[in-house]
């Protein structure tokens, strides 16, 4: 890093300031002729990488059931208390499943702690960033909205495994 310059360290040329002004102006002028970085959103959409933390979703296995066993760790670790779970009993091999699994997207801060703590790799952060609602009630996502087939989440799952 460049050494910090104090007022007394400046040369006369720098202290006149006008040349420095000209330098600054030339930089912005050059910038004006560079192409824009802007992505024109609704027409062009940002496709995130696996490292992106979009809205948290539940993994839906190929056989049609959720991976989640409703252990409640994500709900416990969630710093914003966005997750509410009611467990229930099933006949499947893992006898516990979420009867109700709700994430309040108004509370969610996309920290990804739920994903990190999950012992079953059942809740992961998706690439979905389009989250607009017009009612508070709509912001509470139930299992119908949260379950996403495992095939769509491959990127993120691979990313997570590469960091384990």
């Amino acid at each position: 890093m460049a050494k910090k310059k104090r007022m007394k360290d400046l040369t006369l040329w720098e202290r006149i300031y006008l040349p420095e002004v000209a330098k600054g102006l030339s930089i912005t002028l050059q910038n004006m002729f560079r192409p824009a970085f802007t992505m024109e959103y609704p027409e062009v959409k940002f496709m995130p990488q696996g490292s992106y933390r979009g809205r948290p979703v539940l993994v839906l296995e190929e056989h049609g059931g959720e991976r989640c066993v409703a252990c409640g760790l994500c709900s416990r670790v969630c710093p914003a208390l966005a997750i509410e779970i009611q467990a229930g009993e099933t006949d499947r091999e893992k006898e516990r499943y979420p009867e109700k699994f709700e994430i309040n997207m108004l509370r969610c801060i996309f920290c990804g702690l739920c994903e990190e703590v999950c012992p079953e790799e059942a809740i992961v952060m998706s690439k979905d960033y389009e989250l607009a609602f017009t009612k508070r009630e709509d912001a509470i996502y139930g299992k119908d909205k949260l379950l996403v087939p495992v095939a769509e989440l491959q990127d993120r799952i691979e990313f997570l495994r590469s960091f384990k």
Partner: protein, 345 residues
């Protein structure tokens, strides 16, 4: 010219200038956003109309439809008067600025300025811009908010400080011209005898002071967002806010027009008279030259805003009193010396 014709002509002139001003102001906002976008590798407004060209109308409509909020602790009368003063000053100043030489239309000799006969000329501009300080001070004080008050106080201190160097810089120009009439000042800058070239120190002092007077970056301390929320106009909304907004950009145009008139030869195109063209060709070219110079200066104003950081308040005052003021004095001595050596033209 009889009284009636004079009145009609002036009315038409006022209407044209006011409309052109308003339109320019709204497109100035558009360009401000576009230029800032370019400087930052963005696109800028591009949704309303082709290339976002209708954005100013959308902005105006939005401002019109916004709720007009009157703060509970505000002094209601002063609160309303403040933006009116700002607008009044911004538009009336334009009366003395010539955009071209006199023209002959329908047998009438028409000067291309609303009030060319005002003897005090440039002094009129100085007087009016001083009133502009009241708009900001009033708005700051009457809002009943600490941010507004601080913004207002800063603004009045800043404007008064820079008005002095501005006045002295103009004094140099007046000495040179021997007259306060803008038309005369412009006429004397024929050829390359532009005041910007003859008295470069005065030019720089005037430009810097103009930035300070219009509260543009790097001198926009009255509304310094990080520290004062919105400065003097924090508590303004809807059309009252739009008033300040308009006035700020109108002031920018006036400042640019003044710089063009006083230092950059006004409507003059150097040595065009030697070509011997007919006035029907020359005069529109000259008006075009004025518009071009004005546009270039406006671009410069915006360009500076998106390039330079804001001064700290003490730096601002240092610059005003310790640099600009002595420089303007030096400029007077310089001009006086030139006049002594070469004699008044």
């Amino acid at each position: 010219m009889d009284m009636f014709t004079l009145f009609a002509v002036k009315l038409i002139q006022v209407l044209i200038i006011a409309q052109v001003m308003l339109l320019t102001v709204s497109y100035l906002v558009y360009f401000e956003r576009k230029i800032s976008a370019w400087a930052q590798s963005r696109v800028g407004p591009n949704r309303v109309g082709p290339a976002g060209l209708l954005q100013p109308f959308a902005d105006v409509l939005k401002l019109l439809l916004k709720e007009d909020i009157m703060p509970e602790k505000a002094n209601k009368l002063v609160h309303i008067i403040a933006p009116i003063i700002a607008l009044f000053v911004a538009f009336t100043t334009y009366a003395v600025i010539p955009i071209g030489p006199d023209i002959t239309l329908f047998g009438l000799n028409i000067p291309l300025s609303v009030a060319p006969e005002i003897d005090m000329g440039i002094l009129y501009v100085l007087a009016l811009t001083s009133i502009g300080v009241y708009a900001i001070t009033f708005s700051g004080w009457s809002s009943g908010s600490k941010y507004s008050l601080l913004g207002g106080i800063r603004s009045s201190a800043q404007m008064i400080s820079y008005e002095i160097s501005m006045g002295f810089a103009i004094a140099g120009v007046l000495l040179m011209a021997g007259s306060t009439l803008p038309t005369k000042i412009v006429e004397l800058q024929s050829g390359w005898m532009w005041n910007a070239i003859v008295q470069p120190i005065g030019f720089i002092v005037f430009v810097v002071s103009a930035f300070a007077e219009t509260n543009r970056l790097p001198f926009d301390l009255p509304e310094a967002e990080p520290e004062l929320v919105g400065g003097f106009h924090t508590e303004y909304s809807s059309m009252k806010f739009a008033g300040f907004f308009l006035a700020e950009y109108a002031n920018m145009i006036i400042a640019s027009a003044l710089i063009v008139t006083l230092y950059l030869g006004g409507w003059q195109i150097p040595y065009i008279e030697t070509l011997g063209w007919a006035p029907e060709i020359v005069i529109p070219l000259q008006i075009g030259a004025f518009a071009f110079k004005l546009g270039a200066l406006l671009f410069f104003f915006i360009w500076v805003r998106w390039s330079l950081p804001r001064f700290r308040y003490d730096q601002l005052m240092d610059l005003g009193w310790k640099v600009m003021f002595p420089l303007s004095l030096i400029n007077i001595v310089w001009v006086a010396a030139i006049i002594m050596i070469f004699g008044i033209k």
